[in-house]
Amino acid sequence: MTGRLVVVGHGPAAHRLVEALRERDSAGRWQITVVGEEPRTAYDRVALTSYLTEGADLGYPAHDESVTVRTGERVAAIDRDARTVTTDAGETLPYDALVLATGSVPFVPPVPGAEHAFVYRTIEDLDALSAAAGSADLTMSRPRAGVVVGGGLLGLEAARALQGLGLDTHVVEVAPWLMPRQLDEGGGAMLRRHIEALGMTVHTGVGMERIEPGAVRLAGDVVLDADVAVFSAGIRPRDDLARAAGLAVGERGGIVVDDTCRTEDPRVFAIGECALIGGMVYGLVGPCFTMAEVVADRLLDGEARFTGADLSTQLKLMGVDVASFGDPSADALDVIYTDPVAGIYKRLVVSDDAQTLLGGVLVGDASSYPTLRAYVGAKLPGTPEQALFGGTEAAGGALPESTVICSCNNVTAGAIRCAITEDKLTDVGAVKSCTKAGTGCGSCVPLVKKILDAELTAAGIEVSKALCEHFDHSRAELFDIIRVRGITTFSQLITEHGRGRGCDICKPAVASILASLGNGHILDGEQAGLQDTNDRFLANMQKNGTYSVVPRIPGGEITPEKLIVIGEVAQEFGLYTKITGGQRIDLFGARVEQLPHIWKKLIDAGFESGHAYGKALRTVKSCVGSTWCRYGVQDSVGLAIRLELRYRGLRAPHKLKSAVSGCARECAEAQSKDFGIIATEKGWNLYVAGNGGMRPRHADLFASDLDEETLLRYIDRFLMFYIRTADRLQRTASWLESLDGGLDYLREVIIEDSLGICAELDAAMERHVAGYSDEWRAILDDPDKLRRFVSFVNAPGTPDPSIVFEPERDQIKPAMAEVTP
């Protein structure tokens, strides 16, 4: 098939279809138009709650420009004979193939007052909910309250959102326990304990009768206060468009399709939550993505079929791990473990001979989920008890080829092994980008890493952690050696623990470690020869061999007097000026011998080094915060300044960036920083391991509603633990991704002190803070260091004659000769 493809709806399934088709349709056979009724393009519906609680940006990446996306427009009718669709804007679009991805609507039970209730599906739904919760009458004697009807997966998400909005939250579930579709009774009960411990009230085994003004009435005359009520009692496929076009729909809704996702009309497909496939409507994102992939393949004349879906789920509900996999209701042998104190419930269902895993439920600790899920339908490598307690952990190499490792993207163990061998992949990042495994919910990443390790070991490839040819140790090991043995020079280290004379890899790495541990000025003695390009002259080398200078402007706050000084310095030395992304001012085009003169003027005016040249803390960016902003809830500028002054000069494996936002609008973009802070009504939320740049990564929420002292303590430990254990030039984002146990492990180390090192980390940071002094001032005060800042050893005042500038937009720019190496 070929020609015009019209996709109706732009949710996650539609987005995946278009992306998959664009990736494979190299000949450009399909001209794609997407019509979506929401006012925005596709976004990650699975993460809706984080939009409300953290203000997360959920948007999926845009399609390439060959794809036409019409948002805010609804398809009103399909004319299958003419092969056209008509939109509510009056447009008629012809198609050669039509894909219906109209999704579903939340089921609203037909009870009196239902029209007052909210639902939980789109960003508009959330905005409405948030506005209603915020406008609830504050003069009431009781706290604001919200009731969620439905204790399934989505209902509990909605409950978390309500609690995040500051409401006293109730969950009502008609079944005898929470999450009845995924959990068994024991798991549901354990989950309930966790949720009640968070301050919510759970009502199970009770139906809802009516919504009244300010209240929800349950069966048995129970009345709950409710300023807002949210229905989350299941979904109904949106099949009206198909129905009106004369296509078959199921008795309980859903557009009937075969296993190629085709309706009875060979030119019309349906995917996602609106499709009835194999007698099922799927509400999980994994199967919906699979359907999208099947249709993409079929449109290119492939043979893909939808062969059923893995309904395993793993999620973190309000900090509680919950997972179910396989068929937990299978009638076979149960192995159950309960620990009410720790709040852990685990149940494995195994075949009668106790050898084959059929399914299971995990609540409170789902660390063994990726491995267990992979074994569903297969023989367990040990006893069920061992499996329950992580006995299959090391089994990455033994998984059958056909086992689906990543259910979000339907990637098998075989596909991963094949990619590792054929493309000679050696790290998890490469496996992820090559196979897409682990790029959905991420829960399978530990398993992907195990498979990778097993393959590499089998191939005899030793994953070398040696820093370079001079050291067999990793950076983290060198850090410990230097710290424990109290080594203070590179010469001693390489003599006793390495070989040769070092290189441009190990020298700066060791220089950074020595600086992190506080060994005086970075240009003291032998250290001077270890420093990388920019640290050597404490300025940033630019393409023509000149340097740029960035004075520190903590939090981006600066007086007019200081702004004038920067302007005067730039004018006097003829420097090019540009505002940086970190709310500072960069002065370009300085020659080595000018640097001390420039810094003399800056320091006299009260500036200090901004460490823009160092693998060190750069800036703590801030929004204007509650002092001026109508919406701010905390003083973000004040905190940013405090943080920047605390961590200034701290040398790390790579540069460190931070930001503080004064409210959930997040104007400072804190979630793209190594550590970012967002104000809440009650304190500060700390986010860690975000990144902009080449591989953007949203930071993870590490802890919520912290007071300032706790916040500082956590950041102190986070930074010091990173400095101790990261690889050379590893930003916090990839460090966290490579950390075994990930964010949970990091929380254990920092909050619970599971390694017993927090006192040491705290002391190390105290030493840093107490020992800080301005590096540039120290140079101006030391004639011996100062005399190294010359262009030529035999003509110290002569400027490098090869440095030439030309004008551009009223400033200078480097005039470069052609470079032909």
Binding site: R501, G502, C503, A528, G529, M541, G545, V793, P821
Partner: protein, 123 residues
């Protein structure tokens, strides 16, 4: 590489070379280069940990900037090296050959210690 100065410069023993004094030997910190201006040429001068002296053009052929003097001194496979601070290509201090791209090399200069002075000459 360092040459042994058998006679003071200009006495006729080394007539082929015109030696230019650039600095005191003690001005050079081990493994930290300096740049000298010798008849309009920018010469990077290095003193390695064992006291040897090396001189090569400071002009980095990959970037076109005169920055090799500011590179990190080290060794690779036993050869003394400097890494360009711009894009990090590594050069052999003895020959000027780029170890990351055998097609490329930079010019070397003769260098010697004459008493307390360091002198450079065209090779």
């Amino acid at each position: 590489m360092t040459e042994i100065c058998e006679a003071p410069a200009g006495t006729g023993t080394l007539t082929a070379a015109r030696w230019t004094p650039v600095c005191d030997y003690d001005d050079l910190q081990p493994e930290r280069g300096v740049c000298a201006l010798v008849e309009g040429r920018q010469v990077a001068i290095f003193r390695t940990h064992d006291g040897e002296l090396y001189a090569l053009s400071s002009h980095d052929p990959f970037s076109g900037a005169n920055v090799l003097a500011w590179g990190i001194v080290g060794c690779r496979g036993g050869l003394p090296t400097v890494a360009s601070p711009m894009y990090k290509q590594v050069f052999d201090l003895t020959t000027g050959r780029c170890l990351d791209d055998p097609e490329v090399s930079v010019r070397t200069f003769r260098i010697r210690r004459n008493g307390g002075r360091v002198e450079v000459a065209e090779s």
